[in-house]
């Protein structure tokens, strides 16, 4: 009697197996729909969409580097991940909480297959997150002047975080049959992340920082994509392995002790471990060497392009932007007098990449005559900053000489840098650290900042009020006096025909 089914022909067993898996997918579809329609999940996806809109609001004017945009996509998915963890956990616990276990336990689809379905049910949320990530990245790609390359590994982090959260929610429900466990896990995860982030490690940050899903950077600088040294692919592998491990562990503890599940679990653990080991490794020696070359001797790796009188050398990813820089240079140079108007400048892109994304290394001013430094970021205040760097080199001859500038030449520098703009006063506000147009202030540039006294600010403001057409001829006519070392601000004002301040220049 008991051997009836054991002796069933293989064809029947296969049919039964096929039906069971078809039921798993049907249940996964049902649960996926339930999950996506849960208020917390919907709310978090709406919030996520709003966050993307907010974080990308300036993308159209800030010339994004795609190797930054890909990492920008990683924080937003934490919102749906949170909701997916809680709701997937509640979905698994639903039967127990609502006392349908007694009934469902005698239905055909075995509990471990239902767990597989619950784990699969988070996939549409993962796919939706991937869609949001793709939209955010595409926004960056389509933005005017975008440069660089995104990393698939970095882009996968968001969707994989949602997958990991869903798997954790399912496993937790199978291990701890309490609805309070998931919120407790979130609190625990929060403190773990704080702890893991604080453990000291190698030069690229803490030893364990890559164990958490989303890893931020210590600095906001933009580096060429090949110098980042982030183990993005390893990290994606680690997250995928971890998510699979949790999901398969949930299946295993729920009775799915089949050879296939056990083998898949071993593979998942292997993948996760492989990824964890891979991401924990030091930055490759080749990358370290490349970072050093890019920092110390960028000419070795930079192609150059000629625009007008000047030459523009940049890391390959930024070469399409040299034309934009040339327009700024030409505008500034067109206002200069003497030989400066025809000076052949070398505009070189420079970065401090020695420590990767750790630390905001300031770039030292160039000592090479008529070489101007341009950074890796562009748009917004970076344009007047670069213009100020160009004008300072035209006035003083080198960036290094500008560092110690403490005389009336600062007025000429700022006028040259900004007078060609449609609203120079607004640009002046942008380029000054304190966002003011009165009093003394620090003026930002791609290398060391410059300082403007209160009197110089007043004179520059008056020059802008007088208008470019009125001042430009005077600048050209008095170029030699305006750019002579130790010329006073009062003298400059007098030469340019605006009210002169009293007293000597005092630098702070």
């Amino acid at each position: 009697m008991s051997a009836v089914l054991e002796k069933a022909p293989p064809a029947e067993r296969t049919e039964g197996e096929r039906r069971s898996w078809a039921a798993v997918f049907a249940l996964a579809r049902f649960e996926a729909r339930e999950l996506l329609l849960r208020a917390p999940v919907l709310f978090m996806f709406v919030l996520y969409a709003a966050w993307i809109g907010w974080s990308m609001r300036d993308a159209w004017t800030t010339y994004p580097a795609l190797q930054d945009v890909d990492r920008l996509t990683q924080n937003g998915p934490l919102l749906p991940a949170l909701a997916v963890l809680l709701c997937a956990n509640q979905a698994v616990l639903r039967s127990r909480r609502q006392d349908t276990d007694r009934h469902f336990d005698v239905l055909v689809l075995e509990p471990w297959r239902r767990t597989v379905a619950f784990a699969l049910s988070v996939l549409p949320a993962v796919a939706l997150t991937a869609l949001f990530v793709a939209a955010q990245f595409t926004w960056g790609v389509l933005a005017p002047g975008s440069v660089g390359h995104g990393s698939v590994g970095e882009l996968l982090v968001g969707p994989l975080t949602v997958l990991l959260a869903g798997s954790a929610g399912v496993l937790l429900a199978r291990v701890v049959r309490s609805a309070f466990a998931a919120p407790m896990l979130l609190v625990l995860a929060f403190f773990s992340i704080l702890f893991l982030g604080a453990v000291p490690g190698n030069s690229d940050g803490s030893a364990t920082r890559w164990l958490v899903p989303v890893i931020g950077d210590a600095s906001t600088k933009t580096l060429p994509s090949d110098l980042l040294g982030r183990p993005a692919a390893w990290h994606a592998l680690y997250l995928a392995g971890l998510a699979l491990t949790l999901a398969l562990a949930a299946v295993l503890v729920n009775g799915g002790r089949t050879k296939t599940v056990a083998a898949a679990l071993v593979v998942a653990v292997g993948l996760g471990t492989w990824g964890a080991v891979g991401q924990a490794g030091k930055v490759p020696a080749a990358t370290v060497a490349a970072r050093l070359v890019a920092t110390v001797n960028p000419a070795k790796v930079q192609p150059c392009a000629r625009h007008g009188h000047s030459t523009y050398c940049a890391f390959p990813e930024w070469m399409p932007r040299t034309g934009t820089w040339a327009k700024v240079t030409d505008n500034v140079q067109s206002l200069a007098g003497g030989t400066a108007a025809q000076e052949k400048l070398l505009v070189r892109q420079r970065v401090d990449a020695r420590y990767g994304m750790d630390g905001d290394g300031a770039i030292e001013p160039s000592t090479v005559p008529y070489q101007v430094t341009v950074g890796t970021r562009w748009g917004g205040p970076r344009v007047p900053e670069f213009a100020a760097a160009v004008s300072s080199v035209l006035v003083t001859g080198s960036e290094k000489a500008t560092s110690s500038l403490c005389d009336g030449r600062m007025v000429t520098i700022m006028w040259l840098a900004l007078a060609w703009q449609s609203d120079p006063l607004a640009e002046l506000r942008t380029v000054r650290l304190d966002d003011s147009v009165t009093g003394s202030a620090i003026v930002l540039s791609p290398t060391n900042p410059m300082s403007m006294t209160s009197e110089q600010t007043t004179v520059v403001r008056e020059l802008f009020t007088a208008g470019k057409s009125a001042i430009a001829p005077k600048v050209k006519a008095h170029w030699a006096e305006l750019t002579a070392p130790k010329v006073t601000t009062a003298k400059v004002a007098q030469l340019l025909g605006v009210k002169a301040p009293t007293g000597a220049d005092k630098c702070e």
Partner: protein
């Protein structure tokens, strides 16, 4: 009639309590009533037959499937419809979603066909009009019908119903009886109940249990016949009666061994049930 479900020597203990004691029975197509007092082992027997709980010993088959192996248990579940006592619901699901969910767990995988089947069983239990309503908005009787629809979905060959009419008002109970009677056409239904009227109106077979033991197995008429000559009426309660109660007519109806010259009356199924329990029910008094 062909035997569809048979059990032999099913025993199960909860600690020192013997819930099932070598239970053997044979069910065939139609509705079989399972009667017995509280603690008789009815729910335990249903759980065992529904594969919700394994017996300590004994065997059973359902429509030729033996649940003693994993594969066999799955096959039994494929032909099983189970309505547990006080079934749980997912209150935020609609009636349709809940039955659809159960249908998926019964491995009805073709979406279109499954939805057709869900609509069919909801129509069968007269819930077509409220199938889009959330379960939390339905009355107790409607919920019970949702549970019955969930048991019926997939057209199971063996339907196990554990006290489905408990808590229903008379009208709902009547409606439920109709549904169960319909469900019994072409399939085997095992209906656990306290209500002898349910058995009298619905069942072609009846099993009486007490103390984990099957006390009777036969037709309702045979159960009724057990009380033939053992029911009498009297003006006063007969102290020698096993049970006795005042009827609406003002006379006492006594069950037991009648005294000489007693005025015998026509026995009912309930009388046969009481005789079968033979004093095991103390509360059945006026």
């Amino acid at each position: 009639m062909t035997t569809t479900v048979s059990a032999a020597g099913l025993s199960l203990r909860y600690g020192s309590t013997r819930a099932l004691d070598a239970v053997s029975l044979r069910l065939s197509e139609g509705v079989t009533g399972l009667l017995g007092p509280n603690g008789a082992g009815k729910t335990t027997l249903l759980k065992v037959l529904a594969t919700a709980q394994p017996a300590d010993s004994g065997t059973f088959t359902v429509l030729d499937h033996d649940p003693s192996t994993t594969g066999g248990r799955q096959e039994v579940r494929r032909v099983l419809g189970y309505l547990p006592q006080t079934p749980g619901f997912h209150p935020d699901f609609t009636a349709f979603e809940f039955v659809d969910y159960v249908a998926i767990l019964k491995e009805l995988t073709d979406r279109e066909g499954r939805h057709r089947e869900v609509r069919r069983v909801l129509a069968e239990v007269d819930l077509s009009d409220v199938r889009g309503k959330r379960i939390k908005k339905l009355s107790g009787g409607m919920r019970q019908r949702v549970a019955l629809a969930a048991a019926l979905v997939g057209d199971p060959g063996f339907l196990v119903l554990d006290e489905p009419t408990v808590g229903l008002d008379p009208e709902q109970r009547m409606r439920f009886r109709e549904l169960i009677a319909r469900a019994g056409e072409g399939r085997t239904v095992l209906l656990s109940t306290h209500q002898t009227e349910d058995v009298a109106m619905l069942c072609n077979q009846v099993v009486v249990m007490a103390g984990g033991i099957v006390r009777f197995e036969g037709t309702p008429a045979e159960l009724t016949a057990r009380a033939a000559g053992r029911v009498w009426s009297s003006a006063e309660r007969d102290p020698g009666a096993m049970a006795g109660w005042r009827t609406g007519l003002g006379v006492f109806r006594n069950v037991g061994d009648p005294p000489a010259g007693a005025e015998l009356v026509e026995p009912t199924l309930e009388d046969g049930y009481l005789i079968t329990l033979d004093g095991m029910v103390a509360e059945v008094t006026a």
